[in-house]
């Protein structure tokens, strides 16, 4: 059975939070869909409120404190991401943006993402399309076509058979599709991995002779560096 992890990022601020509620419903529907297709699914919830100070400290110092590091690894190492924010001033809130701002460059490339948002009125709903979707496109994530906005009337109208439920199910199916067509994630990328060797960096390729008189003869042939060029 294929193991899959779905990271669930919620930028809701209140507790309980309707943003978190939407995130849970999107995540649950995605899990159910993947399980139905035969996968084993682990959900990893990252409630950004718990990391608010750490995220700002990361901005200022350039590195994540340990707890935030683990949360970041959960997101960048997942097979798929559910990302949900309340809409503030016609866009994601600052906490949501700040979290994605401190991720390593390229850490979400080709990662399937389902975006969702909540707001005080349905008139905010297109913020998903003009704010969240472009941000994830910039990060070269793969955002599924259906984004899900939940307004107060969606909650008051009952969620079991209402229109929101249908959108959640459709979006979750799309995320499951994208997850399923990829190999299981191998965890977060290692920023310290060496992906080249010195002679390539020097622009001498693999076969160019080492001619500099200063070099010692003790060095191995240039080509031999390649086999080990990605140390553990």
């Amino acid at each position: 059975m294929t193991r899959r992890t779905i990271a669930v990022v919620s930028a809701g601020l209140s507790q309980p939070s309707s943003t978190r509620l939407l995130a849970d419903q999107l995540a649950g529907a995605t899990r159910d869909e993947l399980v139905r297709r035969g996968a084993e699914v682990e959900l990893r919830v990252v409630d950004l409120r718990e990391y608010a100070h750490d995220i700002m400290n990361n901005m200022l110092t350039g590195f994540p404190p340990t707890a935030l590091r683990e949360a970041i690894d959960a997101v960048t190492g997942a097979d798929g991401v559910v990302a949900v924010t309340p809409i503030f001033n016609a866009s994601y809130n600052g906490l949501f943006k700040s979290f994605f701002d401190v991720l390593e460059a390229e850490s979400l490339v080709d990662r399937p993402v389902l975006i969702g948002a909540t707001g005080g009125t349905a008139r905010h709903s297109l913020a998903l399309e003009h704010a969240l979707r472009p941000m994830f496109s910039y990060l070269r994530a793969v955002v599924v076509p259906t984004s899900v906005f939940a307004a107060p009337e969606d909650w008051s109208g009952g969620t079991v058979d209402g229109a929101l439920r249908g959108r959640i199910r459709r979006a979750a199916g799309e995320l499951a599709d994208q997850v399923e067509r990829r190999l299981p994630a191998s965890g977060p990328a290692d920023p310290f991995a060496l992906t080249t060797d010195f002679l390539q960096m020097l622009g001498r390729g693999d076969d160019a002779p080492v001619t500099s008189a200063g070099r010692t003869g003790a060095r191995q042939a240039p080509g031999s560096a390649r086999a080990e060029s990605q140390p553990g």
């Binding site: 700002m56 400290n57 901005m59 200022l60 110092t61 350039g62 590195f63 404190p65 340990t66 920023p191 310290f192 991995a193 060496l194 992906t195 080249t196 060797d197 010195f198 960096m201 020097l202 622009g203 500099s212 008189a213 200063g214 010692t216 003790a218 060095r219 191995q220 560096a225 080990e228 140390p231």
Partner: protein, 380 residues
């Protein structure tokens, strides 16, 4: 093992008094710190190089040459020399000159510089930071080892029949460290040449240092310079001490809270937990510093940052007294006892000369353009 201090040379307001030193005061303070380092028995003083306010040390060999003239034993180094924006030809000349004037008491640490706008002031582009570091250093390495260099690269004008003068003292170039926080390419570069690798080890978690040093050691062995545990490793560190650790915390906190790099961010307690910063008693500094070798292995050089964030000179000199009198003697003894016999000391001019089979004069005498004759007895 070598112990010393390194300074970035920032002009920063003292947050407890609101007073900002002048450039002149700061420059003189850096010199006073270097002289004090020798007085209290430290081995190394390393100065940064910066070309933008609030930093003063734009001309490192001028400062280090002055300090060389006023000290006897102190090893002079850099933290760091900008291998990206400096012309490698000028580095070769300046530091060979310093090496002669200081009778071999000089080595260098190469760094890239991380401030984008600085690069174009010197005709360079930060986006080429790593390729600049690679190409420029490769040229520098040759200029110190080959009397006559023909060279062509991407980032400076070609050289034809160029001789960098003066030639290195005793025919032995200054030892070079490569500093980096988190670029594996630089660890690879240091390993390739068999040079030293210096991990900043101040502002970032120890895991960064551990990974980078581990990679450097592995590649050092790969390139055939010795076993992984014989690679030459240096670490930074940052401490503030008082005899009573509560006094240290109380006195340092306002400097920490307002420091340019991490101020107004994490608390002193959080930062102390997440990074190698130690604020406390000399014994706490000893214990924490001895712990470094548990994740980087036996290493050769430990430099401390003592004088940033607006700390007044008087306080810094008191810190150096504590470091030299109470901390370093214990660290020297303990590290030495732990170090296996096959792990080398940090290279010095004397050890490099010995390894080269003795010193030799490497003067290149000019050849007469018309007759093609060199002066009598001269070698070329």
């Amino acid at each position: 093992m070598q112990f010393g201090v390194f300074t970035v040379g920032d002009v920063t307001v003292d947050p407890t008094t609101g007073r900002e030193p002048t450039e002149h005061e700061r420059i003189k303070a850096m010199v006073a710190i270097a002289l004090k380092a020798e007085e209290v028995g430290l081995d190394v003083f390393a100065a940064g190089e910066h070309h933008n306010p609030p930093f003063v040390p734009s001309s490192p060999t001028t400062m280090l040459g002055h300090i060389a003239a006023r000290t006897e034993r102190l090893l002079l180094s850099t933290a760091t020399t900008l291998i990206t924006t400096n012309d490698p030809v000028k580095i070769a000349e300046d530091y060979a000159m310093l090496q002669h004037l200081s009778d071999g008491r000089v080595d260098l640490m190469m760094g890239r510089g991380n401030t984008g706008p600085v690069y174009p002031w010197f005709g360079k582009d930060i986006r080429a930071g790593i390729p600049l570091a690679i190409e420029n250093y490769d040229l520098l390495h040759r200029l110190w080892r080959e009397d006559v260099v023909d060279w062509k690269g991407k980032y400076r004008t070609p050289l034809q029949s160029f001789t960098s003068t003066p030639r290195p003292l005793d025919g032995v170039p200054p030892f070079v460290w490569h500093g980096s926080i988190r670029s594996p390419e630089i660890a690879e570069q240091a390993a390739y040449y068999g040079d030293g690798f210096f991990a900043n080890h101040i502002f970032w978690p120890k895991e960064h240092t551990q990974r980078m040093v581990g990679l450097y050691r592995q590649r050092y062995a790969h390139y055939g310079h010795g076993s992984a545990d014989q690679a030459i490793v240096g670490l930074g560190g940052q401490v503030f001490m008082r005899r009573n650790s509560q006094d240290a915390v109380r006195e340092f906190r306002p400097y920490f809270d307002n420091a340019p790099v991490y101020g107004h961010g994490p608390s002193l307690e959080e930062f102390t937990r997440e990074t190698p910063l130690t604020v406390g008693s000399p014994q706490q500094v000893i214990d924490r510093t001895l712990g470094f070798r548990e994740y980087v292995g036996d290493y050769q050089r430990q430099l401390f940052l003592m004088d940033h964030a607006g700390l007044p000179l008087k306080t810094v000199l008191e810190q150096l007294d504590l470091l030299g009198e109470e901390v370093v003697p214990v660290l020297r003894k303990e590290f030495e006892a732990l170090r296996p016999a096959h792990v080398p000391d940090a290279p010095t001019h004397a050890s490099l000369v010995a390894a080269a089979g003795g010193g030799k004069d490497s003067t290149v005498h000019a050849v007469d353009d018309v007759t093609g004759k060199a002066p009598e007895g001269a070698t070329r």
